[in-house]
């Protein structure tokens, strides 16, 4: 370091090496430094206002680490919880009105119907879609809910009954009851009915004679009787006269299989499976849905496209 400054007035630091190698002072502009200190102050302020400083005990995993709470008491999870509480508040108003109404009344209220359909979509996804498909389009072995073919009736009260208590189809296996010839006749008969053809006299005679009418009805429509108030009585047997098949892909082989091995027959290895569990009775050991949820779900299913 030199005793005298050989470059006076140059704004240097006074440090010299090798006569003329020196360090100059060229500080950032004052406004820049002010901005710098202000941003530091902001950092401290931010740390006081928001959760920022980790607090002991120290955790290796950041997600487990506790932080200071911040004077504003804000955190993203608290904001999320507040938002959810608001949503619940809005929903509660609708849910209270729905609770006081029957499923039929909901259908007549466009606003509430809209809310019911929107809010039941999740319920349907959670409890129904695994078997019936996300849009009620069905799956092999599981009925389509979007069409207008109902085994147990497509009115709101029937749908509620189905969801609450579940359903279990029952058709005896005919492999030991009917001859091969008779099974062939009946399978062809069912195929013809589904194509809109009347079916031969011989086949109708066999159909009635073997007791099929007991479940499928005298007209093979799945309806045993129609009550004076218009509602129908069924045991869940398929309507054989429509174009839809309970067990896909449908057609001769499907029909033959069902006739031979029946539905839900114990001891029959190739029997059809057709069980819907009961979803009602929330609170009990196996109960899953409460009456309100079932009511909303029934409306949802009814409105999938084929409700009666």
């Amino acid at each position: 370091m030199a005793d005298t400054n050989p470059f006076p007035g140059e704004n240097n630091t006074g440090h010299f090496w090798d006569d003329n190698l020196r360090e100059l002072k060229n500080p950032p502009p004052r406004w820049w430094m002010i901005a710098f200190w202000l941003s530091l102050a902001w950092w401290v302020l931010y740390g006081l206002l928001y959760p920022m400083w980790p607090t002991p005990p120290w955790k290796l995993d950041e997600t487990d680490q506790e932080f200071t709470q911040g004077m504003l008491d804000w955190s993203s999870i608290k904001e999320f919880e507040r938002g959810m509480a608001q949503v619940e508040e809005v929903r509660a108003e609708y849910d209270q009105r729905i609770a006081a109404m029957s499923a039929e009344e909901i259908l007549d209220d466009p606003g509430l119907l809209q809310y019911t359909l929107a809010s039941s979509k999740v319920l349907f996804g959670d409890y129904c879609a695994a078997c019936h498909g996300s849009g009620g389009q069905g799956n092999p072995g599981y009925p389509v809910l979007a069409d207008n073919d109902w085994l147990y009736g497509g009115t709101l009260s029937k749908i509620i009954e189905t969801i609450t208590g579940g359903r279990k189809g029952n058709m005896i296996a005919h492999e030991k009851i009917l001859s091969e010839q008779e099974v062939d006749t009946l399978a062809n008969f069912v195929v013809n009915l589904s194509k809109g053809q009347p079916g031969s006299e011989e086949a109708w005679a066999l159909f009635r004679g073997k007791g099929c009418t007991g479940c499928h009805g005298a007209e093979a429509t799945g309806v045993i009787a129609t009550l004076p108030n218009g509602s129908i009585v069924t045991v869940g047997a398929a309507n054989l006269t429509d174009t839809l098949w309970r067990f896909r892909p449908g057609g001769y082989e499907s029909a033959k299989h069902t006739i031979l091995y029946g539905v839900n027959q114990t001891g029959v290895e190739q029997t059809r499976n057709a069980v819907m569990p009961a979803f009602g009775g929330a609170g009990s050991a196996e109960g899953r849905l409460d009456a309100e949820q079932i009511k909303k779900l029934a409306v949802y299913v009814h409105e999938l496209g084929g409700g009666q």
């Binding site: 360090e23 849009g135 389009q137 389509v144 069409d147």
Partner: protein, 490 residues
């Protein structure tokens, strides 16, 4: 910062010889560059104000910003003519109401302004910076107030240096108070475009406006005060991206305020005894007035440079001097670099770039015009249900489900009737009742369409939905949307 000025000396040379041969020429380089300095705002630039043609044009251009302050008071149909109502997602532009759905027009508007900036820059340099930019205009007004209170630049510098006195405190505090007031008016007017000017008058001073309003007014007050009062040309130098972008859009044929160096050089001070014929000097008398009036503190005679916002005030200054010394005006004038260097000036309108800019400009204007001319009061959207795409019903017919969404952009409620048409007969369920659509809302409805198997020849056919309604004043509205009907392969 280290100033390296020494190359490694060979050991056989004496140190003094090295000093002479190596160091001295380098020190000369320092001396060369000594005049250059970074304008980092260490020293406040007190620019001189001179009357003149460009000064008048500048005030005229600045006055465009009065729209910003007075615009919110303009009424239309019983409400504020231009109101960006963010909470209800409605943007009123005189008679038209723009909803977020129409925001593709905003992108065209942004494109329009971006290209306008480009075309203006290609033609006349940073004309936006010099005449219209809020930073320029607000700084101009702020320094005008400063001059009014503190006097001309020399007095101002003296006042800055003078020790604090009661008078200095009075003048300075009045100045800062006025600056803050303008800042407040700026924030106030900005918020008024979003909040409504009359609600703002009603709510602001009674503490009933929301926190966002107060925050924005505070932000703009402080921002205006700091940017126009303290940072000034530093914003153009160091903060503004436009300034940098515009710099690269100039070329040799762009008109910019330029110093005619062929005519002006060699510059020299005017001497009374010099004979005009024997005077070796050019027209520039080196009076430095062009530098004195420059709001960014540059010397235009050094040529185009990043600090020049092309405000043309140096042209006024130079012209007034040329008038005084009896030489023709235009030593500093709007001219292209080609023209200044005595080369034939290529007409700007022959430049491909300018035509390209203009084409894009036209395209975006046409797009915006189309958008506004086709703004409808209602909009119909049709969502075809995809899960399942179609359902076979018990009688063999095929059913499709649609969700129709009717958006009512008007400010009154509406009742809409939905109809559907297709090339084949069909049964439509869900449209029997009229749909009541609240204003400013989207109302959904589900529609089922069923078509008999015998009418279906392919896997899809077109289907048209129409929403029709009538406003209370009898104006009919109508919206259409095409969708498709899907069926399994026959």
């Amino acid at each position: 910062m280290l100033s390296r000025s020494k190359s490694s000396p060979s050991m056989c040379m004496s140190w003094a010889a090295v000093n002479r041969r190596v160091v001295e020429p380098v020190d000369d380089l320092y001396a060369d560059a000594e005049h250059w300095q970074v304008n980092a705002g260490d020293e406040t630039i007190h620019a001189k104000r001179l009357p003149g043609r460009w000064r008048r044009i500048k005030w005229l251009a600045s006055s465009v910003w009065l729209i910003f302050f007075l615009g919110p008071y303009v009424r239309w149909d019983g409400r504020q003519a231009v109101l960006f109502d963010i909470p209800s997602r409605q943007y009123h532009l005189f008679g038209a109401t723009v909803l977020p759905q129409d925001f593709w027009m905003l992108s065209l508007l942004l494109l329009f302004f971006a290209i306008l900036l480009a075309v203006a820059t290609a033609l006349a340099g940073r004309v936006y910076c010099g005449f219209f930019c809020f930073q320029t205009v607000w700084t101009d007004v702020f320094t005008w107030i400063e001059e009014w209170l503190e006097g001309d630049p020399r007095t101002r510098r003296q006042l800055d240096r003078a020790p604090w006195s009661a008078q200095k405190l009075r003048i300075k505090s009045l100045k800062h108070l006025l600056w803050l007031l303008i800042g407040f008016a700026t924030g106030w007017s900005f918020v008024a475009w979003f909040y409504g000017i009359f609600p703002l008058w009603r709510d602001f001073f009674t503490g009933q406006a929301n926190g966002v309003v107060y925050s924005f007014v505070a932000l703009f007050t402080v921002g205006t005060y700091v940017l126009a009062g303290w940072l000034r040309e530093q914003v153009c130098f160091w903060l503004c991206p436009y300034a940098r972008i515009q710099g690269v859009m100039l070329d040799r044929s762009t008109l910019v305020p330029a110093y005619d160096l062929l005519r002006g050089e060699p510059r020299g001070r005017l001497r009374k005894d010099a004979e005009p014929e024997s005077d070796p000097h050019g027209d520039c008398i080196d009076c430095n007035q062009c530098v004195a009036v420059c709001p960014t503190g540059i010397d235009i005679r050094a040529g185009q440079q990043e600090g020049c916002i092309t405000c043309a005030l140096c042209i006024d200054a130079c012209d007034s001097i040329m008038d005084k010394v009896g030489r023709p005006r235009g030593l500093i004038r709007y001219a292209s670099l080609d023209e200044i260097e005595g080369q034939p000036a290529r007409p700007l309108l022959l430049s491909v770039r300018v035509w390209l800019y203009l084409a894009i400009l036209l395209l975006s204007v046409v797009g915006i015009g189309y958008g506004f001319s086709t703004l409808t009061s209602i909009e119909l959207k049709v969502l075809h249900e995809r899960s399942p795409l179609f359902v076979q019903m018990s009688d063999g017919s095929i059913q499709n489900q649609y969700t129709l969404k009717v958006l009512n952009k008007a400010n009154v409620d509406l009742t809409a009737h939905i109809t559907a048409t297709s090339p084949v007969p069909m049964e439509v369920k869900g449209v029997e009742d009229a749909l009541s659509v609240k204003h400013g809302e989207v109302t959904p409805m589900r529609v089922f369409v069923r078509i008999e198997r015998e009418h279906l020849s392919g896997t899809s056919l077109p289907i048209f939905f129409t929403a029709e309604g009538q406003f209370p004043d009898g104006t009919p509205v109508r919206a259409e949307r095409e969708s498709a009907f899907f069926a399994p392969a026959p």
